[in-house]
Amino acid sequence: MALESSFTLRRVGVRLSEGIDQTLLLVILTLSVLGLAALYSASYESPVRVLNQLANLAVAFAAMWIAAQIPPQTLMRFAVPAYVVGLAFLVAVALFGDVVNGARRWLHVGVTRFQPSEMMKLALPLMLAWYFHRKESAIRLRDFVLAALLVAVPVLLIARQPDLGTAALVAAAGFYVIFFAGISWRVLVVVAVLGAASVYPLWTHLHDYQKKRVLTLLDPTTDPLGAGYHIIQSTIAVGSGGLSGKGWLNGTQSHLEFIPERHTDFIFAVFSEEFGLIGNVVLLILYSLLIGRGLVIASGAATIFARLMAGAIALMFFTYAFVNMGMVSGILPVVGVPLPFLSYGGTALLTLFIGAGILMSVQRHRKLVQT
C-alpha cells in the first residue's frame, strides 16, 4: 500500500517534471525569489502585494508548464490565428479601448480588461518564425520585406496608443526573428543608416511627454519634479547602494517613498539600493545564464521554426533586462518595461513564463542526432 502510493507519487513527479529544463527552472526560480524579496521591501506598507505576486507566480508557473508540454509542431498551428486575433484586438483598442493615464491601451472583455499589446510580444515572433519556417531555405529579400511589414503594422498600432516601450519590445522581438532567419548584413547596415536618418522626422511625431523623457535623460536636472524625478531618484537609489548595498529592508530611497512605481518598473532601484553592486552583478549573471541557456537551446533546435522562436525568446529576455536596468540607472529613457521575473504584475510574468515554457518545449524536442 505505502509502496504503491510512493510509486504513484514518483510517477506524478516524473510526469510533472517531464519537459521541464532544469537549468532554466533553477535560474527562473532564483530570479523569482529575489523579486519577492525586493517586492517585500518595496511594499512594507501593504504586504498583500507579496501574496498577490505569489498568486501571479503560481499562475505563471502553471502556464509555463503547459507551454512546455506543447510540441513546437503544434505551437506552429497557433501562429497565424494568434497573430490575426492579436492584430484585431489592437485595432479594437484603437477604436474603443479604455484610456488610462492618457494612453489608450486597455480593452474590456466581459468583466476584465487586458492589454492586447502584451499578447503581441509572443504572437509576432510566432508568426514570423512560422512564415520563415514555411519558406524553408528559399528565403529571399522580398520575404524579409513582407516580414518587416508584419512587424510594422502591430508596432505602429501600439506606438500610437501611445506605448513606446511596448512598441520597442515588440519591434525588437520581430527583429530578432528576422535577424536569425538570416537577413544579410548588407541590408541590415542599409536599414540602420536609413533608421538613423529618420530620427529627426520621427522626433517631430513623438508626444510631448515622450520627447520630455528623452530630453530629461540627457539632462535630468532640467525637470527635477516632473519627468526628471524618476531618473534622479532612481539613480540616487542605485548610487547610494554602493558596493554591498544598504541591506535588505534598509533602503531609504524606497522606504521614504522617493522612488515612484517602486513595485513595478522601478523595482530594480529598490533591489540595487539594498543589495549594491554585488547584488547587481549576481542579477546580471543570472540573466546571462538564462539568455545563454536560451541561445544554446536555439542552437540545438530541430526545426527552423523552433530555433527562430528560441533565439528570439532568449534575446527578448535580454532586451527586457537591459532596457529596464538601463533606464533605472539612467542610461536609457524611461519606458514602461518591467524587469523580467522580478517586477510586480501578472500580465508581464505570464508572457515571460510562457516564453520560458516554449524554450523548454524546444529543448525537449531538439535534434537527437547531430548532423
Binding site: 501593504s46 542605485v238 531609504t252 533565439g311
Partner: protein
C-alpha cells in the same frame, strides 16, 4: 536529401550558429556596459549619491485647503472651520504605539474614548502617516507638550482645521456629516483620479450637502517643497504652491425656519419638507431625531457611533428622503385632480355617504361612523370623506390612478441633491408583478384598488415626494427638481454659480381644475379637518390632513388609540401651502405615530407657515441673526 540540399542546410545552420554567437557577444557587451555604469554609480560616485540620499532629500508636503463654508439662504453660516491643535502619533517613527500612548498619558489626559478612537482609525486607514491620539488640545496642553517634546520621538502637535456646526443638531440631515477617509474612500478617490488632491486631507463629506457637494467644498491642495534630513524632519522650505480654498455653498434652506420647524416637533419623530414651488428650492428639511454632526469632526469615537446606531429612534436615518409613509388622506386632493382631469367626476356630482362602502362581500369603513351624508367633490376634501374616494378609486381603476399620479412624481425619486433617496411605491399591477415572487401574490385584485383611493394600501412615499407633489399641484402641473443648494461661490473672486430651477415635467392640468382643488384645500383650513389648527390665521392657505395606518385593522375591529402601543399608532400627516393665490411655500409634515393628522402634524405646519409668512417666532425660541441684522442692531443702539 540531395548533396546540394545538404550543403545548403549545413551552410544555413552554420550561419545561424554564427548569428547566435554574435547575439551572445552583443549580450555580453551590453551587460558589461551595465556593469560599467553600476561601478560608476555605486563605487566611483558612491559618496556623492550616498550623501544625496542621506541628507539632501526633498519632500513634498501637501497643504490641505480650507473647506468651503455652508451658509443658509440669508447668509448665516451653518458649517465653518476653526483651527485647533491635535496631538499626532507617527506610527512608522515609534517603536511601540501602545507604549508611546502610555507615556503620553502621564503628561496629557488621554481618555479610554481617545484610545478607542485611535485604534479605530489605525484599523480603518491605509498606511496612515500620522494619527491623532488627542484633538482640541487646550493652550495649556500645547505648552506642556512643547516643553517635553524632546522626550517623545514620533509624536508631534499639528495645527489643523476642524469642521464646526454652530447649530449642532439643527438641519443635521440636510448638512450631513464628515468622516475620516478610510481604505474604501481611498480606493474610490484613486479610481476617480483625485487621490493626489486629497493628500493631507483627513476627512471627507459623507452625507447631506457635505457629501453631495464634496467636490465643490474640498478645494485644491497646495504643495510645499521642503528639504528634510535623514529622520524626515523639515529643514527649510524651497518653494510653495498655496492651496485654493473650497467653494462656499449657499443653501436655499432658511436655518431660522428650520429651527422653528424642528422646535415644533419637540421630541417627536418625523419629517418635514418645505419647498418654494416656483423654483424647487428646499426651505426647510427636517428629519427628527437628528444628530450632532460635531461628533464626527475629529473621527467619531466607537461608543458614540454605537449609540447612534443602536438608538431605536434611528437618528441617522434621513426620514425626509429615505423614510416611506402611506400618504393617507393627503392623497385625496390628487385623486380629486385625477377625477376631474380624466372626466370621472364633475364638481356637482354627489354621493350618499352612509359611513361605509361595499365592494363584493367586503365593507370598507369610513373614518366617520355614520358617514357624512350627501357629499360632493368639494366636501369630500374638506371633511375627508373616505366613502367618496373608495367609490372613485373603484370607478377609475388602478391603471388610471397609477398613470395619473406619475404627473406628481409619486413613486419615483425626485433627484434632490442629497444622497440616499428612496423611490417609494406607486402601486400598480406592474409593480405588484415585479414585487412578489409567488404567482398568487403577483395578481392585482380589484379590491386592492379601493384603499389606494384614500392613500392606504401599498401606497408609500417619502416626505420629499409629498412636498414635491404639492408644489407641482399648486404650480398647475409644473414640477421642479427639489434642491438644497441655491448657489456656489468662489471665496476669492466672489463669482457665483446659481443652481437654475430645473423643470422636470409639465403635467397638462386644466387651470379650472387646479383652482377647484386649491379652493377645496383652502376649505379644509377654514371649515374642515384643518380648521382648528388654522383658526385665526392672518393669511390664506390650503391644507389636507392625513392619517396613515401603521398596522392593519381587522374588518370589524375599531381603532382605539389607547389600546395600541405607541409604535403602532397611526402616523399623522399634513400637507399645506400658502398663500392661496400665489403660493410661496408648499410643505409636507409627517409625525410618526402622532395619531390623527389634524392633531399632531397640522399645528406644526401652522407654526412653520406663521413664521415663514408673518415672522412670528414661537415663544422661548431665540433665532440666529445675519451679519447685516447684527450690524443694524448695533447702529440702532
Amino acid at each position: 536529401m540531395s548533396f546540394q540540399e545538404l550543403r545548403n542546410y549545413e551552410r544555413e545552420l552554420h550561419q545561424f550558429h554564427l548569428r547566435l554567437a554574435v547575439a551572445g557577444a552583443a549580450v555580453l557587451i551590453a551587460f558589461t556596459l551595465l556593469v560599467g555604469r553600476f561601478v560608476f554609480l555605486q563605487v566611483v560616485q558612491h559618496d556623492v549619491y550616498a550623501s544625496k540620499a542621506e541628507d539632501n532629500r526633498i519632500s513634498i508636503v501637501p497643504i490641505p485647503p480650507n473647506r468651503g463654508l455652508i451658509v443658509d439662504r440669508n447668509g448665516i453660516v451653518i458649517a465653518r472651520n476653526y483651527s485647533g491643535y491635535t496631538l499626532d502619533i507617527f506610527p512608522r517613527r515609534v517603536n511601540s504605539v501602545e507604549r508611546t500612548i502610555n507615556e503620553l498619558s502621564e503628561l496629557i489626559e488621554i481618555t479610554p474614548r481617545d484610545r478607542a478612537r485611535f485604534r479605530k482609525v489605525m484599523i480603518e486607514t491605509r498606511n496612515p502617516e500620522s494619527v491623532p491620539i488627542r484633538s482640541r488640545l487646550t493652550d495649556e496642553e500645547v505648552a506642556k507638550f512643547a516643553v517635553n517634546r524632546y522626550r517623545y520621538e514620533g509624536v508631534e502637535i499639528k495645527a489643523r482645521l476642524f469642521r464646526q456646526y454652530p447649530y449642532a443638531e439643527v438641519a443635521s440631515h440636510a448638512i450631513g456629516y464628515m468622516g475620516r477617509i478610510d481604505a474604501r474612500d481611498q480606493t474610490h478617490l484613486e479610481e476617480e483620479g483625485v487621490d493626489a488632491n486629497y493628500r493631507g486631507t483627513d476627512f471627507i463629506g459623507r452625507t447631506g450637502v457635505e457629501g453631495s457637494y464634496e467636490d465643490e467644498l474640498h478645494g485644491t491642495t497646495g504643495f510645499e517643497q521642503v528639504e528634510i534630513d535623514a529622520a524626515g524632519r523639515g529643514i527649510r522650505t524651497l518653494s510653495r504652491t498655496p492651496s485654493k480654498s473650497g467653494n462656499n455653498v449657499a443653501l436655499t434652506l432658511d436655518i431660522r425656519l428650520q429651527q422653528v420647524a424642528e422646535a415644533a416637533f419637540g421630541e417627536r419623530r418625523g419629517a418635514l419638507v418645505a419647498i418654494e414651488p416656483a423654483t424647487g428650492g428646499v426651505l426647510a428639511f427636517v428629519s427628527k431625531p437628528g444628530f450632532d454632526p460635531n461628533l464626527f469632526v475629529d473621527g467619531i469615537d466607537p461608543q458614540s457611533w454605537a449609540e447612534l446606531n443602536s438608538n431605536p429612534d434611528l437618528p441617522l436615518n434621513n426620514r425626509a428622503v429615505a423614510g416611506v409613509y402611506p400618504p393617507g388622506s393627503t392623497f385625496k386632493p390628487y385623486m380629486a385632480m385625477a377625477a376631474l382631469e380624466l372626466g370621472k367626476r364633475t364638481p356637482r356630482y354627489t354621493i350618499n355617504d352612509p359611513g361605509y362602502y361595499v365592494f363584493g362581500d367586503r365593507r370598507f369603513r369610513d373614518s366617520k361612523p355614520g358617514g357624512n351624508g350627501v357629499v360632493d367633490l368639494y366636501k369630500s376634501i374638506v371633511v375627508s370623506s373616505d366613502t367618496y374616494y373608495y367609490q372613485l378609486a373603484n370607478d377609475m381603476g388602478i391603471d388610471a390612478i397609477a398613470g395619473f399620479m406619475k404627473n406628481f412624481g409619486f413613486g419615483s425619486r425626485t433627484g434632490i441633491d442629497v444622497q440616499g433617496e428612496a423611490a417609494g411605491v406607486l402601486p400598480s399591477p406592474e409593480w405588484k408583478q415585479a414585487r412578489f415572487r409567488d404567482p398568487r401574490q403577483q395578481k392585482w385584485f380589484p379590491g386592492e384598488t379601493i384603499s389606494i383611493g384614500i392613500g392606504q394600501g401599498y401606497n408609500a412615499y417619502t416626505p420629499i415626494q409629498l412636498a414635491q407633489a404639492l408644489a407641482t399641484l399648486v404650480n398647475g402641473g409644473a414640477m421642479y427638481r427639489p434642491h438644497l443648494v441655491a448657489h456656489i461661490e468662489d471665496p476669492r473672486s466672489g463669482d457665483r454659480r446659481y443652481i437654475e430651477p430645473e423643470l422636470v415635467r409639465q403635467a397638462p392640468l386644466k387651470k379650472d381644475n387646479v383652482e377647484f382643488v386649491k379652493r377645496a384645500m383652502a376649505g379644509v383650513n377654514k371649515d374642515g379637518t384643518g380648521a382648528r389648527a388654522f383658526a385665526g390665521a392672518q393669511y390664506t392657505s390650503g391644507g389636507k390632513t392625513g392619517t396613515a395606518q401603521v398596522i392593519a385593522m381587522k374588518q370589524n375591529e375599531k381603532y382605539d388609540e389607547a389600546k395600541v402601543s405607541e409604535r403602532h399608532r397611526d402616523h399623522s400627516l399634513f400637507i399645506a401651502f400658502a398663500p392661496l393665490e400665489s403660493p410661496k411655500i408648499a410643505l409636507a409634515v409627517v409625525v410618526e405615530n402622532g395619531g390623527f393628522g389634524a392633531r399632531a402634524a397640522a399645528p406644526i405646519a401652522r407654526t412653520v407657515l406663521d413664521y415663514f409668512l408673518l415672522g412670528k417666532t414661537p415663544k422661548g425660541l431665540v433665532l440666529p441673526q445675519t451679519d447685516d441684522e447684527v450690524e443694524d442692531d448695533r447702529e440702532s443702539d
